[in-house]
């Protein structure tokens, strides 16, 4: 009896959020799919069925092709960078250095700043004529000067730098928590077996951090696939769309160009991209949970 009442109560408490999520998340996803397959490409709603034509048109648009390439380049470098820098910082901080709390907070702080603010600041910093180039020059390092985001070939990596600054602190915090969870006995055991520091990390600690790496990759991955605000504030579409991402294209197509169906189609493609990353993870985690 007791259990049943508990169940009823928890179901009741969950109900509002289930309804809200049902309407505002899944309902709207359904609506967006519907619009994406309609002919609503002017300001007047026209919901007649267009099939997959909007999608076909999109994949033929040069700008969208560039966007997909940018998303791939951005996601790969951003993920690798964030995980690498995050792990490095966490390992350094884990060595019980003095002022650890200070550094931990300093590295974590950028995350508390909104992407819009971060993007604006990095727009100034990486501006070729007013930003870090001036610093480099006055430090006698003029050779390192770069056109940054004004050069189409490297522009997207300038945005990656800003994104790394903003998010690697978060990865560091996750890794730090993971490192603290690894018992000293394991480390000592490895040392007794004669493992060097490098071997210790390579064969004991990093493998034990795998679940953290996976969760961090999922969180960062879905951020980078959907990134909008940082890029919008920092570079916009960039020269020759070199920093354009599907989010910006979606915004302009929908709200500036009035092509609502095409905009919805871009959103759906973004959703699918994120789903491809998230769903295997969800399946994997429910499975391991069931085993445990």
């Amino acid at each position: 009896m007791r259990i049943r009442r508990d169940r009823a109560l928890s179901a009741l408490i969950l109900l509002p959020s289930v309804v809200a999520v049902g309407v505002f998340v899944y309902g709207f996803i359904g609506w967006t799919v519907y619009v994406a397959m309609s002919n609503w490409n002017s300001f007047v709603p026209d919901l007649s069925f267009a099939g997959l034509r909007n999608f076909a048109d999109l994949f033929q648009t040069p700008r969208f092709q560039i966007d997909l390439g940018n998303t791939l380049a951005f996601t790969l470098t951003f993920l690798a960078g964030c995980l690498g820098i995050g792990l490095l910082l966490a390992v350094l901080l884990d060595r019980q250095i003095r002022g650890e709390a200070f550094f931990r907070n300093a590295f974590l702080f950028p995350m508390s700043i909104s992407f819009i603010v971060g993007g604006t600041v990095w727009q100034w910093l990486l501006n070729p004529s007013t930003g870090v180039n001036l610093l480099l020059e006055s430090a006698g390092l003029g050779v390192l000067k770069s056109p940054w985001y004004t050069e189409p070939r490297i522009a997207i990596y300038a945005v990656v730098i800003a994104a790394l600054w903003q998010m690697s602190g978060f990865t560091m915090a996750m890794y730090l928590a993971g490192l603290r969870g690894i018992s000293d006995e394991l480390r000592e055991a490895a040392r007794v077996d004669g493992a060097s520091d490098l071997q210790l990390y390579r064969h004991v600690i990093i493998p034990l951090l795998h679940p953290i790496t996976l969760s961090a990759a999922i969180v960062l991955g879905h951020i980078s696939l959907k990134i909008f605000d940082l890029v919008f504030a920092m570079t916009g579409s960039g020269p020759a769309f070199s920093t354009d991402v599907p989010g910006i294209f979606m915004f302009e197509t929908t709200f500036r160009g009035n092509r609502f169906a095409e905009g919805a189609a871009i959103s759906i493609i973004m959703l699918v991209m994120v789903a491809v990353v998230i769903i295997p993870y969800l399946i994997y985690s429910t499975r391991t949970e069931a085993e445990a």
Partner: protein, 426 residues
């Protein structure tokens, strides 16, 4: 792994909170019995905001006791404001009156779709058909009825230059693009960037190209672009693109990092000698204490003497305006001599009306007002007058690609395709 269910719940709660927050804005606006008037624009900074305030003062004097809600969304050329406006209009919560560029932006987006109320009775009762030039009234009309009131006129095709740099090097403002290249070579030889450009928001490059198009095609050919009479794949457009590609050799290399006002600032900072921009740049110079014919010089953009690319800000009346009466009163002020004389000197534009007192305006605006009555008036594409917004966004995209790859053939094919897709040509 006991953390996970809790995480899921937190996520649910967060999603719910986001959903609720998303609904919150915009609901508390209609409350209260006092008379209100909500004016929507993208005039947030400098002379524009001051001009708008001056017009509000005129309104308050004539219609006391009305609370004016100044709803603004920042962003050059209204790119962000327009997106906000669309969601409000589609959501059935329009402002009482909103800023809109005359021409296609007004007619295609709002009039043909049935969102606007005709202002033909107002034009008659206020005698505006005689107060505004006919070409201008045509820009805000659809099937013989007027749908908005032009508050001001900006000129899109102006070449600005740093007068001191030009005097020091004994240069004259180039009248054609061929002359421009000679001047540019001289400047480049002296280590001065000839032309400043800031095209971070894309439209700035398109704006420059629009003026080149007008120069290459002339009034008749340029007008034909929007009706299908002039082909996008023809020689005229090819010549314009070739010229544009050549001009790009003389602009600052970091143009993708700047927006239009930073490009104007480069003239003040002596980092560049010339800039092609609409005459809102004059407003920017004035705000920075720069004087016409002393600090900066001006001329029609090369090759466009006798042509006047019109950018006109207008105000219209949405059908569902919550305070229709106050909105009509606002439109009367916006179209009146007093309202326009209060607004335009501060905004740095000339009146839409032809009877404004020239003494209230500076040297540049006086010369622009004279040209306005004499020149052929052309609609601006970039600023929404010439073509539907669907075309305008693609036009910006095509030119953004062109600035980097300079592929004339691809640009022409893409322009033609966009023209057909937007039903401007067959």
């Amino acid at each position: 792994m006991t953390e996970r269910p809790r995480l899921a719940k937190t996520t649910l709660a967060l999603l719910l909170a986001i959903a609720v927050l998303g609904l919150a804005p915009g609901t508390g606006l209609q409350a209260g019995a006092a008379k209100k008037l909500e004016i929507f624009s993208w005039w947030t900074a400098g002379g524009e905001a001051d001009g708008l305030k001056a017009m509000f003062e005129v309104y308050k004097k004539r219609f006391p006791g009305v609370e004016i809600i100044n709803a603004t969304v920042a962003g050059g050329a209204g790119t962000d404001a327009k997106a906000v406006l669309k969601t409000r209009m589609l959501g059935g919560k329009p402002p009482d009156s909103f800023q809109v560029h005359g021409g296609a932006e007004l007619v295609d987006t709002w009039v043909k779709t049935g969102f606007m109320e005709s202002l033909a009775p107002l034009y008659k009762s206020e005698g505006w058909l005689n107060a505004f030039p006919k070409d201008l009234v045509d820009i805000v009309s659809h099937q013989g009825e007027q749908y908005s009131v032009p508050v001001n006129v900006h000129r899109g095709n102006v070449l600005w230059f740093n007068k001191k740099i030009f005097d020091e090097n004994k240069l004259k403002a180039p009248a054609t693009w061929d002359e421009f290249f000679k001047v540019a070579e001289t400047l480049k030889g002296k280590g001065i960037t000839p032309l400043s450009l800031g095209d971070k928001n894309k439209w700035e490059a398109a704006h420059l190209f629009e003026d080149i198009l007008a120069a290459a095609l002339g009034a008749e050919g340029y007008r034909g672009l929007w009706t299908g009479k002039t082909s996008w794949e023809g020689d005229g457009v090819k010549r314009a693109l070739d010229t544009f590609a050549r001009i790009l050799n003389y602009v600052n290399r970091d143009h993708a990092a700047f927006v239009w006002d930073q490009a104007a600032q480069m003239l003040i900072d002596r980092k560049a000698a010339m800039n092609v921009m609409g005459d809102w740049a004059a407003g920017y110079f004035t705000a920075k204490g720069w004087k016409p014919n002393v600090d900066y010089g001006f001329a029609p953009a090369p090759g466009t003497a006798g042509l006047f690319v019109v950018v006109t800000d207008t105000f219209g009346l949405p059908k569902k305006a919550p305070n229709r009466e106050q909105a009509l009163a606002w439109l009367k002020v916006a179209g009146s001599k007093e309202g326009q004389e209060a607004f335009n000197p501060l905004k740095g534009s000339i009146c839409g009306r032809t009877d404004c007192d020239p003494k209230k305006f500076d040297v540049y605006l006086q010369s622009s007002a004279v040209d306005f009555t004499k020149n052929a008036l052309l609609p601006s594409e970039v600023h929404g007058s010439a073509a539907p917004e669907g075309f305008a966004t693609i036009f910006n995209d095509i030119l953004n690609l062109f600035v980097t790859n300079k592929d004339v053939k691809a640009a022409q094919a893409a322009l033609q395709k966009a023209c057909v897709a937007n039903k401007m040509c067959k």
